[in-house]
Amino acid sequence: MTGLTLGAFPHFIYQPIWVTVMFIAMIIWRIMAIRHMWPLPTKRLSSLKVLHLSIAGIAFLLLFISYGNLIGRDAGVALLTVMLGLKVVEIRNHRDYYISCFLGYFLVVTNFFYSQNIPTALLMFVVVVIMTASLISLNDGKKSLSNKGLIKLASQMLLQAIPLMLLLFVLFPRIPGPLWGLPQDAHSGTTGIDDSMTLGKISQLILSDEIAFRVKFDGNIPSPSQLYWRGAVLWQTDGTTWTELNNRNLMSSRPTFTTRGDEYAYITTLEPHNKRWLFALDFPSEQPSTPSSHYTYDGQLRSIKPINQRQQVRLKSHTQYRLNPNKDDYIDAALKLPEGMHPLTKQLAQLWSKQTTDPMQLVDKALTYFNQNAFYYTLRPPTLIGDTIDSFLFESRRGFCEHYAASFTVLMRAAGVPARIVTGYLGGEINPVDDFLVVRQRDAHAWVEVWVQGQGWLRVDPTSAVSRQRIEQGMSSIMPEGFNTPLFMANSRNLIDLWQQIRNNWDALDNAWNQGVLAYGPELQKEFLQKLGMTKPDWQTMALWLAIGFAVISLIISFYLFYHLPKRDPVAKLYYVFCKKAARAGFVRPKQQGPLDFSILLKQQFPHLNKQIDHITSLYIDLHYGKKSALISDLDRAIKRFKFTPTRT
């Protein structure tokens, strides 16, 4: 029962509160029945039976109301929890017991849909031990094992099972999923960049400390101000919300681009975000081999399938590039502005465009405008009233990357320069423990690209005109010191550093777990087995090695179970230490020689040690052959202190 509760525990966090309450109430009912003889619903106590049934009925009704149906991940898990709770009260015979045990295992599995981190895994082991112990107690009808004994035996079995488990994990041929359709909500609840941008949306992400992806560079790492991780490209706007250009042709055709300068090769491990972007370093020069992906005309690198599980992508990028330098088919879309909106902004832009028509100069003008006026970079911008762009540019002047990107784009378009917004991530932190660059949700960013004939799309980051720090030192420099540190630690510099160190170590461990264990699928298995020296890791070879491994481990287990080494007598062990000391001094005890004879021999050689040798010998004889009146600790002390010092001459 403890096992069941522990197994269900993680679910309490995201389940409706009444499911939790019901489950715990049922468990308490059962415990009370065992401890205090509370009645349970049986045939005889029909009123309780009715109560039990009506609880069940209400629970199912509530489930149906809150989820709409009973199929799907969340509803399914809640249903399982409810059923298990109801079953616990009903357990009467062996069969019920087994079924609730197996349901409990199922509940553990369903945990993994929500989280697969290390604590969950450890919890799983604990639950398995407890469930095993309860199965053992079920089969120990006369209760000849104590609770401690049960847990001990169960843990022993678990430890013996672990090598086999590892073998299976490594060698069991992995089949790429899914085998059948997943429920709609299978991957909900993931955070990340969206395919549209409404002012104020990214700043919610900024407060999230979740990891978006991790990057391992093969060689050198570009400077932080170059770490633009490219996500969505937003063209269209209705004045407040920016969206992608929904054009099939644009989405499926390849841009023309040239790259220059250093090539950066790296492996990105994307956390599931349920969208298609691979967040390549701006700009990816090659398509990755896995997952299958494609370029879009506006320079996105998109996976064919949504990234709904952790995914490794091997990528190559150049930070210097030209994108569609001579011609862009969709240039009109990059000039469109909604009719009759942002009058003040348009006015300002038209003023500039009268002064110059050179796009670069117009960009400079806008950047200078941001820089010279009292614009502030803040995570908590005031709510904008009325025309968002106008009120931001001329009234509040407090905003975030998305405010700057949006208003800059409007300015450019109004001035006649093709411009679009790119969202993604900027920067990231190197974890010194494993040298992975960790990009978190709070590194989400939005910037602008303007198109210049002959140079193509050029990246302009208006945020840099306001806050250079954000661009060059990353998000954490913007955050107040001690951000994400527990409150009690936030006052001391040392504690903050310590906390950071712990976090780094934990992140590295978590990363190793993700990279090695959770990402272990068909591809990684192949790779790993090839590294182990298997030339052709197909399922036949795996099955063969699996069989061999199984045989070997089974042999070891049976050997362990059947042939225990006889326990050595502690007294004999101590005396053996003494003999070894003597042997080191040059006197090996012949096997057939008794301890007394040996002591006489030793005393002849070391007359000054007479007393000690006699003491040890008499203690040993007493403990080993005699009345056992002496204490083993005395012998232990005497032998440990004893040294065969050479004779003083």
Binding site: F112, D140, S144, A186, S554, L561
Partner: protein
């Protein structure tokens, strides 16, 4: 030809030692089904921890198999004996088990089958076991005597027969069992019943009758106790006085010689009823402290008294035409 093969089979068996069978129980199969479900789920969602849990549980099942085997394989039946009982009473077999492994064996289930069937059909050999008894634990490297009760059937020798030692410990996923063909046997006396009164001693002419020694209750003195003397003759008062066990001697005793004869019970229908009556008489005579003998058509036992004499007589009755 068949003989050749059966000899070969036995040869192989002696080489292999005692065979231990192990088969998954119903729950074992359900467990397997659950594992497959979990595996399918894990594959479908490409869930690594799901794989791990599935593999862990599978390995646990595998390890449980070894534990289950270990629990039974090293349990040996060393010896078995039982005191005689009367037909209809339960036989208490004292079975001595030795657990030769270095760990404790738990929850060993004993069951026995009286008739040995050597059918070629293995399934048939598995059935027919009854009289379950659970040994909660057998300590490691130790001998344990177990009191195993089976009902007695009819008089004569009753073999313990084939004994099945099985266990589902630890997880109940496997049933492990092994057979012992014990030659332990119990002697079953006939049931002591019958309505006929105990024949009078005087009915027999060969009795020495002395008019001075009529009454059984005439106290004649104290003798030292010999094993076999009836308990109710013990002089408890004398014992309290000087701690020496003596029995009271009554004058009636010496003359109480009684031959229990088959001829006296011929009026009863059937051999069993006659033997039962004789059995009851033996017990009555023993109780009364008489010197009695037994005369059966094929054997006769001379006068005597005491436990071993009674056992001798009852054995003769038990084995009458039944050897």
């Amino acid at each position: 030809m068949t003989q050749y093969f059966s000899q070969l089979y036995q040869k192989i068996n002696t080489f292999r030692g005692r065979r231990v069978f192990i088969v998954p129980t119903r729950f074992g199969f359900i467990y397997g089904g659950f594992l497959i479900l979990i595996l399918l789920g894990a594959i479908n969602y490409s869930n690594s921890l799901g794989h791990i849990l599935c593999f862990l549980l599978a390995s646990m099942g595998w390890v449980a198999m070894h534990h289950s085997y270990r629990n039974v394989a090293k349990v040996e039946l060393i010896n078995g004996y039982a005191d005689p009982v009367y037909a209809g009473q339960a036989i208490h077999f004292n079975l001595v088990f030795e657990n030769r492994s270095h760990s404790i064996s738990y929850q060993i289930l004993l069951a026995s089958k009286q008739t040995k069937s050597q059918s070629w059909n293995l399934f048939k050999r598995w059935g027919g076991f009854e009289h379950d008894y659970i040994i909660a634990r057998l300590n490691s490297v130790e001998k344990t005597t177990v009191n195993y009760r089976i009902p007695s059937s009819r008089r004569g020798y009753q073999l313990l027969g084939q004994l099945r030692v099985s266990s589902q410990f630890p997880l109940g996923l496997y049933n492990t069992w092994s057979y012992f063909n014990s030659d332990a046997k119990a002697l079953i006396y006939p049931m002591a019943q019958g309505e006929l009164p105990l024949p009078k001693s005087s009915d027999y002419g060969d009795q020495i009758t002395d008019p001075n020694q009529k009454g059984n209750d005439d106290f004649s003195g104290l003798n030292n106790y010999r094993s076999g003397d009836p308990l109710r003759a013990i002089a408890w008062k004398a014992l309290a006085r000087d701690d020496v066990l003596r029995i009271k001697q009554f004058t009636g005793y010496q003359g109480g010689q009684l031959m229990l004869s088959w001829n006296d019970v011929v009026e009863l229908a059937g051999t069993e009823a006659r033997l039962s009556q004789l059995c009851k008489w033996v017990l009555q005579a023993d109780e009364a402290g008489l010197d009695y003998g037994l005369s059966l058509p094929n054997t006769s036992i001379k006068y005597g008294h005491g436990d071993s004499h009674r056992h001798h007589c009852l054995t003769a009755l038990a084995l009458y035409q039944n050897e």
